[in-house]
């Protein structure tokens, strides 16, 4: 069993920038040296609501990217969708405000040693960690095709400088307001068939990840996905964010998505569990 990300640090980080991008906010924090330790797939856990808040728990955000500019200049960027009280509070904070932040947390996307053809699939602001990943893959000589999907154009997060790191970018929206009309799964099957994809990386809602995993299994492809489950602490102490995962020994265990995830092998997740403990899980009643 893995432990907490040994690079994780708690810092008081100043907001350097906060810009609205479509339905989201792109936020930049001055985090110092921990920026250099973050890898694509890691996340940050941020306190919200201020001193007298009734919001007692941190919010977890996938790290969009980091810049290492020496001991005092490290930057960490996230993309926030203001849909609850905590994330809305955060997007209302202006540059200069200081925020309690813990990062980098959790597992990172595995990077192949050989130059391979990678397909990166993001749902909504789940695209955020994929741009940093695509840069790393591109530097390793990989071909990177990216597919981003959302319900509507405003919810596609695809900044210009992010697009430079990918060989192709396909966008789908359910309402047809931009790109192809439909879901990401409508286009990736065809791409896999024609592009000889070796590996799929995905980040987005659990339903989307499950659908992508079905396709990955159909084509016998490696699939790494960034999962999510209701999480209280983000640092491995509370045991609430567990998901059923089958280990190399064939045993299903309830593992913490903050410690053994958020990036996991798609094939190891028991997707069918949905609000149940799968039969045969270690320690099941």
């Amino acid at each position: 069993m893995m432990g907490i990300n040994s690079n994780a640090k708690q810092v008081i980080a100043e907001i350097v920038s906060n810009k609205k991008v479509g339905a989201y906010h792109h936020m930049v924090f001055a985090v110092g040296e921990l920026a250099s330790a973050a890898k694509p797939g890691n996340f940050a856990a941020i306190s919200v609501g201020g001193e007298s808040s009734q919001l007692v728990l941190r919010r977890a955000f996938a790290i969009y990217r980091t810049f290492d500019r020496g001991a005092n200049g490290g930057l960490l960027e996230i993309v926030v969708a203001p849909h609850g009280a905590g994330s809305t509070w955060l997007t209302n904070q202006q540059p200069g405000i200081k925020i309690d932040l813990i990062a980098p947390l959790g597992t990172a996307f595995g990077i192949p040693t050989e130059p391979v053809r990678a397909l990166l699939v993001g749902g909504g602001y789940g695209s955020a960690p994929l741009f940093g990943l695509s840069e790393v893959l591109k530097n390793r000589g990989c071909r990177v095709d990216m597919v981003l999907g959302a319900s509507t154009a405003m919810k596609i997060y695809a900044p210009l400088d992010g697009k430079r790191s990918v060989s192709s970018l396909t966008i789908t929206t359910e309402d047809g307001s931009t790109g192809k009309t439909g879901k990401v799964t409508d286009v990736i099957r065809e791409m896999i068939a024609s592009n000889e994809i070796d590996i799929i990386y995905s980040c987005g809602p659990m339903g989307m990840l499950e659908a992508i995993n079905d396709i990955a299994e159909e084509f016998n492809l490696t699939h790494q996905c960034s999962i999510e489950e209701s999480m209280a602490c983000g640092i491995g102490v509370c045991m609430t964010c567990v998901i059923p995962i089958k280990g190399d020994d064939g045993v299903i265990r309830m593992l913490r998505s903050c410690i053994d995830g958020p990036v996991v092998a798609g094939e190891s997740v028991i997707w069918s569990a949905k609000r149940t403990i799968p039969e045969g899980t270690w320690g099941a009643l």
Binding site: I235, C238, R275
Partner: protein, 311 residues
């Protein structure tokens, strides 16, 4: 020189700030943020006889000034715990309070036998009040007879030295009645309070949000319940030491529980929001006690009970 030492039963601790059961992981996770030996004690997750998957997800719902959890005592079981977790904690030089939970009176007896000869343990917390079980009848601390039976089983099997701390729920008509039962059955001290049974319904899906439907409410929302429970029990049995807990987030909050009658204080949900919470609370509590003119922690225990004529 201010004396910060705390006593529970026969056990002495350098300071009164403990982790709460189930709120410190294995200890390793928090040790990345501070040295565990700075705590009064680590109270471990409630450990059961066998490995346990816990309940299905979602297990967590944030609520106003608190959260619901329905973890359901996920853990490796006592044998793995004694082999892996205890030696590591011992190496940290931190005082250890092992928390145990059983499904039957016999479970508690077996757990006590397995723990009686283990070196390096300061006390045993007997959790008879976890709300995350399928059958409410399994919450031993809800009935005087079952509460007594569980504590008796531990008392008869634990041997002499190890203090027993019985952990109780406030979800009863009279917590004083249950407290008196477990003390009569051999508990040396009491842990007050466990989480309070609650529920959140998701108004989008229009179903209970937690897969287990109900969960235990923790956090500042329940602090007045904890203060009340500690106050009532201390008033009835001032000689019985209490480990107080329930939504403590600051030194002020810890001080409040100590005034109500707690001899030491556990930090739970606050550590989820801030891994340094226990350390900050410890420093703030010391400052708070000194600012109020106390020379020792012990002088402040139950101070809210003094008669009106007393300033």
């Amino acid at each position: 020189m201010f004396n910060f030492q705390a006593t529970l039963g026969e056990a002495e601790f350098d300071n009164p700030i403990f982790t709460a059961s189930g709120c410190a992981g294995s200890g390793k996770e928090l040790s990345q943020f501070f040295e565990l030996s700075q705590l009064g004690a680590v109270v471990t997750k409630s450990i059961m006889l066998k490995a346990r998957s816990g309940r299905a997800t979602p297990r967590m719902a944030e609520t106003p000034s608190g959260m619901l959890n329905s973890i359901g005592l996920q853990g490796p079981g006592i044998d793995s715990f004694l082999e892996n977790d205890i030696p590591w904690l011992r190496d940290q030089g931190v005082r250890i309070v092992v928390s145990i939970a059983g499904e039957s009176v016999e479970d508690y007896a077996v757990l006590a036998r397995k723990l009686r000869a283990i070196p390096g343990i300061s006390a045993l917390e007997v959790n008879i009040s976890c709300p995350n079980v399928e059958n409410r009848g399994q919450v031993f601390a809800c009935h005087p007879e079952t509460a007594r039976a569980a504590i008796q089983a531990v008392r008869r099997n634990i041997g002499g030295g190890l203090p027993i701390i019985a952990k109780l729920t406030p979800d009863v008509t009279s917590i004083v009645e249950i407290a008196e039962e477990v003390v009569a059955a051999g508990a040396d001290a009491l842990a007050l309070i466990n989480t309070v049974l609650g529920m959140v319904i998701d108004t989008n899906t229009m179903r209970p949000k937690l897969a287990g439907k109900t969960g235990g409410l923790s956090g500042p929302a329940i602090r007045p319940i904890a203060v009340r429970a500690v106050y009532q029990v201390h008033a009835a049995m001032p000689h019985v030491k209490i480990l107080g807990m329930g939504g403590v987030t600051s030194g002020r909050d810890a001080f409040e529980l100590i005034l109500a009658g707690a001899s030491a204080v556990s930090v739970g949900t606050a550590s989820f929001g801030n891994p340094m919470a226990a350390m900050q609370i410890k420093d703030e509590l010391r400052t708070e006690l000194i600012a109020h003119g106390f020379d020792s922690l012990r002088e402040a225990v139950g101070y809210a009970h003094r008669s009106e004529g007393n300033i």
